[in-house]
């Protein structure tokens, strides 16, 4: 950047570490993925809807959900995009896809990465399956990505 511009700005960076309290729902979900390569949801006692990823409250019924249900590691793509812009917080080098995925046994949609860079090879309605990370890091990325089932 030119010296002329540098004279006009103060450069800064906010670095503030957090320890976000996971809560029982996030903890179990992420632990099961990392340790056992299993995906769990929770079921609403009233409407019986299975939420994946799990959370405490069914916002439709305003009920606390406590029944854990194992669901499939495969699902149907309900929507996708392939991005080409790059930011420092992206887990993969673009281009790659994001998907809105309805996992087998779930009643809500799951947002994750699909490892496919060609939009022509992605279709709404296609099946994808989870690929688990070999060395889990206690992250949603312990499902490393989803990949199309050929």
């Amino acid at each position: 950047m030119s010296q002329e511009i540098e004279k006009k700005v103060f450069r800064g960076r906010i670095k503030v570490p957090y320890k976000h309290t996971a809560g029982a729902y996030v903890e179990k979900f992420i632990t099961e993925i990392g340790k056992n390569n299993k995906i769990f949801g929770v079921k609403c006692p009233k409407c019986k809807k299975v939420y994946v990823p799990p959370k405490m409250i069914c916002f439709e019924c305003f009920e606390k959900m406590e029944e854990w249900v194992e669901i499939g590691n495969q699902g149907i793509v309900k929507g996708f995009t392939v991005i080409t812009h790059s930011t420092p917080v992206m887990p993969l080098e673009p281009p790659f896809a994001y998907g809105i995925i309805r996992l087998d046994g779930a009643d809500t949609d799951f947002v994750h990465i699909i490892k496919e860079s060609d939009p022509e090879k992605l279709k709404i309605g296609m099946k994808v399956k989870a690929v688990f990370k070999e060395k889990p890091r206690k992250r949603i990325l312990d499902i490393e990505y989803f990949e199309p089932i050929q």
């Binding site: 006009k8 949609d109 947002v111 709404i124």
Partner: protein, 384 residues
């Protein structure tokens, strides 16, 4: 209590929106519009009862960032409060200070200098730190997902989406405050770089710097301050589910509910007939088509055909975004208050080259978060 319909906008001021206003701090941008408004109305800071601002701490790089602009809004030792979010919500907060009879006049201000920090990184922090943030999601990828699902469900084409960009950019030629003032073609949009399939670079807005201010007043004070007070007629607000997978990504349910509430309050029975002009916060081309449907300007799934009909063009029955919209100027946090300011100018008959003839009733739509998560619909009328 003061009734709705007895609160008026008496004047508005805007900066020009630009890519990088490197010679002005955001406080100086705010001072520019507040001082201009004082001068235009012939008032001093003593005539301002209360100040409501809208901004975002992540964009301004400090917490309680409203303290950075307290000199510029004249709020030292004065009632001041801030909405951490879109400026349309600040308008509502300001109007409530008058409706509750706490103050006779309220200054509402919103600013943003997108140039000071990566908007992709700021937007990534909108997402929860457990399930979404580490995926690297931002406003661009979310928009791509929404556009893909909506277009697939209703058979809306990329050409129809591009028509929104062409319309808004053409309108911006008539707006001296607009950031991007260059006419473009459908092919320019279609041939621009793929950014988040099916959306291309020109389906997205630029990032802009700028500020907007307006003075609100109760009825008798407003009538003394201006011959053209613009009356606040209706308000609706609705928030949709936070997690993208819990959202209906093909219809803007939150906006639909907010609009219904605002229409009920303002007595709008047939939005297409009753609304003379709309200014909406379209975050990407396809979004505006979805907004048409949620506002009831056309039926569900008909957004693509509706833009083709030309009804939202300047010479159509319901012009949408005569200012050029967000696709032409995008100082993010200020977008909603800019929509309100532009509607006020339209109803005052002061919109110059972008004036919609005989505009009597107008709608402003402001949005918080990603893909129409938080929705604020405001209806205004020019005669009382």
């Amino acid at each position: 209590m003061t009734e709705i319909g007895k609160v008026a906008i008496v004047g508005v001021a805007q900066t020009k929106y630009e890519e990088d206003k490197i010679d002005q701090t955001y406080s100086e941008l705010v001072f520019e519009v507040v001082k201009k408004l004082h001068n235009d109305l012939g008032i001093t800071n003593d005539d301002v009862g209360c100040v409501i601002t809208s901004s975002n701490d992540f964009n301004d790089g400090r917490t309680i960032a409203n303290m950075a602009i307290q000199d510029a809004v004249g709020s030292v030792r004065k009632a001041e409060s801030r909405v951490s979010g879109d400026g349309a919500f600040a308008f509502m907060y300001g109007a409530m200070r008058i409706l509750s009879e706490s103050f006779d006049t309220v200054m509402v201000v919103s600013h943003c200098k997108c140039s000071e920090v990566s908007q992709y990184l700021v937007n990534n922090t909108i997402f929860d730190p457990y399930y979404q943030r580490h995926l690297g999601l931002d406003q661009i990828s979310s928009a791509g997902l929404m556009a893909n699902m909506y277009m697939n469900k209703y058979g809306v084409t990329e050409e129809q989406a591009a028509m929104v960009v062409v319309k808004n950019r053409k309108n911006a030629l008539n707006n001296p405050y607009a950031h991007l003032r260059e006419e473009i073609s459908i092919n320019d949009v279609l041939n621009s770089k793929m950014m988040a399939y099916p959306l291309k670079e020109l389906d997205f807005p630029p990032f802009s710097d700028g500020a907007v201010a307006m003075l609100l007043a109760k009825e008798d004070v407003a009538k003394k301050m201006t011959d053209t007070p613009i009356w606040f007629k209706g308000y609706g607000n609705c928030t949709d589910a936070y997690y993208l997978g819990n959202r209906n990504m093909t219809d803007l349910i939150g906006l639909e509910l907010a609009a219904k509430e605002a229409y009920r309050m303002a007595g709008v029975n047939n939005p297409r007939e009753n609304l003379d002009v709309c200014e909406v916060s379209e975050s990407f081309s396809v979004h505006e088509l979805m907004i048409y449907e949620a506002l009831g300007l056309c039926d569900k799934g008909e957004g693509g055909k509706f833009i083709e009909s030309g009804e939202t063009e300047m010479n159509g029955s319901t012009p949408v975004n005569p200012s050029g919209g967000v696709l032409s100027s995008n100082p993010t946090m200020a977008n909603g208050l800019i929509r309100v300011a532009e509607i006020a100018l339209q109803l005052q008959g002061k919109a110059d080259k972008r004036q919609v003839p005989n505009a009597k009733t107008g709608l402003a739509y402001g949005m918080n978060g990603i893909c129409s998560q938080g929705n604020c619909v405001l209806i205004f009328g020019g005669e009382n």
